[in-house]
């Protein structure tokens, strides 16, 4: 469920379409947090080094952070599912 398409127009998690594990992980907003961290790194690094890179690195950082956040979210879901099935 969580691995829905991220095309524009479908960018919204619908809690009603998720199970409990997905809801719990989705609440943490990993991709969004990753985007902000990536954006921040993409701003701070060029400010400290080559300022002209500001044209590119914030956007790249944001995209990379978002993708990593999504991967971590998927990993967190898999891990929780595994833990849950092991408990059962």
């Amino acid at each position: 469920m969580v691995a829905h398409n991220m095309a524009i127009g479908q960018y919204r998690d619908d809690p009603a379409a998720m199970d409990d594990v997905e809801r719990e992980v989705a609440a943490a907003q990993y991709p969004e947090g990753g985007l902000v961290v990536g954006l921040g790194i993409g701003i701070v690094l060029p400010v400290l080094t080559v300022q002209a890179l500001l044209v590119l690195t914030p956007f790249l950082g944001g995209i990379v952070g978002f993708v990593l956040g999504r991967r971590f979210r998927d990993y967190a879901i898999r891990r929780r599912r595994k833990d849950r099935s092991a408990t059962k």
């Binding site: 127009g9 919204r12 719990e24 609440a27 943490a28 907003q29 969004e32 902000v36 921040g40």
Partner: protein
């Protein structure tokens, strides 16, 4: 403002007519920053400031459109926070109430500085005293819940318009074209001015409230929107064109430069009229500044993502006193930053447009995620035509704002993105303090009274059939 709409249940347009709606809109939109910012910005951007205000009007137009569409389709308490959290993702929505205090503090400092500098034209009192007096007055008015009655508001609005016209009309005849060269003395300063001048357009938020009140909204809202922003742009462009046309830009750089310019072509009383206009603009906003922001904090608090105390209402004054205190007290400590008028305005412009960018994504999602609400909207855009254009336009403008800010004032962008990072940590902390799934569910769904049944939407859609001003709902455009 509300005094006009309350009472007998008449719509705004039926009680005071379309001109009345326009007057309310324009009166609310023309705000203190336009008296304060042109001087300091013109000092670096030069005559190109005229072009800067025109460019700033473009994202402002998008914002007005988003407000009108979302406000009419989904009238809710909490404004942008609710739209963004429900229509995109909870964390993006949470950034609104978490960043609002910073915007409110910056806004109060600019307002207080403007008040101080223009009041000093009448009384020779240290600026710092006047800044503290205004901050104290705003806090008191908002905690106690005093209201400037509608009639007084209208008198001040008329005074404001008279003051602006007194400056612009005779000033137009006093312009010396030589003052317009060089037109672009500093491209960086020009870019930064565009971002900073977005701030004076933010007063159009009133449209969210107007949505439900106007008769024949499908026709009236676009008309009032177009005319309203057109009139405000005319006032702003006229004001700045006279300022940089009458005084060489190298002599500009102070907050009260409009009064200085007035003294160049008006008799002795000219600068007093302009100063009075600035003070009128302050008075018309003191009782809305904090209370409007505090509503957003209250809604986020009720959702559980901010402390419960922020939604508590004072038993005697009937105001959200804790929320008002969070917004109104810190500026007393931050007064030394009041000198950074341009930086503060850029921060407000960037933070606000970023919020509206998320709002635009939410607007794109609206027909798909809440089709019943969109069907109920008084006027709509085709999803793959007008709506897509509005969303992309807002995205391009936001990207440009960020780029200009990062290249010209990187510290502003760093503060904002750093604050977003702090917001993420706090968001996770609040989740840990609450039932995270329940909080997540609350932040992604509307309250029961805010929901629209499909049958109602169908009826509204049927009623609208035949109205050429209404386009298809998003579903049909998919």
């Amino acid at each position: 403002m509300s005094g006009v709409t309350d009472g007998d249940g008449e719509t705004l347009s039926s009680s005071i007519g379309i001109l009345g709606v326009l007057a309310l809109l324009v009166g609310n939109a023309i705000s203190v920053p336009i008296f304060v910012l042109p001087g300091p910005l013109a000092g670096t951007a030069g005559p190109a400031l005229v072009l800067a205000i025109m460019l700033a009007a473009i994202p402002a137009g998008f914002v007005v459109l988003y407000n009108a569409l979302l406000g009419s389709a989904m009238p809710v308490a909490g404004g942008l926070y609710v739209y963004i959290s429900r229509l995109t993702a909870p964390y993006w929505g949470f950034l609104v109430p978490f960043t609002i205090p910073l915007v409110a503090w910056a806004s109060l400092l600019i307002t207080a500085t403007g008040f101080a500098e223009y009041t000093r034209i009448f009384f020779d009192v240290p600026s710092m005293w006047l800044i503290y007096v205004l901050l104290g007055f705003v806090l008191l008015v908002n905690v106690v819940g005093l209201r400037v009655v509608a009639q007084v508001q209208i008198v001040f609005f008329v005074g404001l318009v008279v003051s602006l016209l007194t400056f612009i009309v005779p000033g137009a005849a006093a312009i010396e074209t030589a003052n317009y060269t060089p037109f672009f003395p500093d491209y960086g300063g020009f870019g930064l001015a565009v971002v900073a001048l977005f701030y004076p357009f933010l007063g159009f938020g009133l449209l969210i409230e107007l949505g439900e009140e106007i008769d024949d909204p499908g026709r009236t809202i676009p008309l009032v929107l177009g005319l309203g922003i057109g009139i405000v742009v005319l006032f702003y462009v006229g004001l700045i064109a006279v300022l940089v046309g009458v005084v060489p830009y190298v002599e500009l750089g102070n907050e009260a430069d409009l009064a200085l310019a007035a003294s160049r072509f008006l008799p002795w009383w000219g600068e007093y009229v302009v100063a009075a206009g600035a003070i009128f603009a302050v008075v018309t906003t003191v009782n809305t500044t904090l209370l409007v922001f505090s509503r957003t904090l209250m809604r986020a608090s009720r959702d559980g993502i901010l402390p419960a105390s922020l939604s508590r209402i004072h038993p005697r004054f009937d105001t959200p006193h804790y929320a008002v205190a969070v917004l109104g007290v810190p500026p007393f400590v931050l007064v030394p930053l009041a000198d950074e008028i341009v930086g503060l305005s850029v921060f407000i412009g960037l933070a606000s447009l970023t919020a509206y960018f998320f709002c635009a994504i939410g607007l794109w999602n609206l027909p798909q995620e809440f089709p019943a609400h969109y069907a109920n909207a008084p006027f709509r855009l085709r999803r793959y035509r007008g709506l897509l254009l509005a969303v992309l336009g807002g995205g391009v403008a936001t990207g440009a704002f960020w780029l200009v800010t990062l290249l010209q004032r990187p510290v502003v962008g760093m503060v904002l993105i750093g604050w977003f990072g702090v917001a993420y940590v706090y968001y996770r902390y609040r989740l840990a303090k609450t039932d995270r799934i329940e909080t997540y569910r609350t932040m992604t769904t509307l309250d029961v009274h805010e929901r629209v049944e499909e049958s109602e939407a169908q009826r509204a859609s049927d009623d609208a059939s035949g109205d050429t001003s209404r386009a298809n709902t998003g579903e049909s455009g998919d």
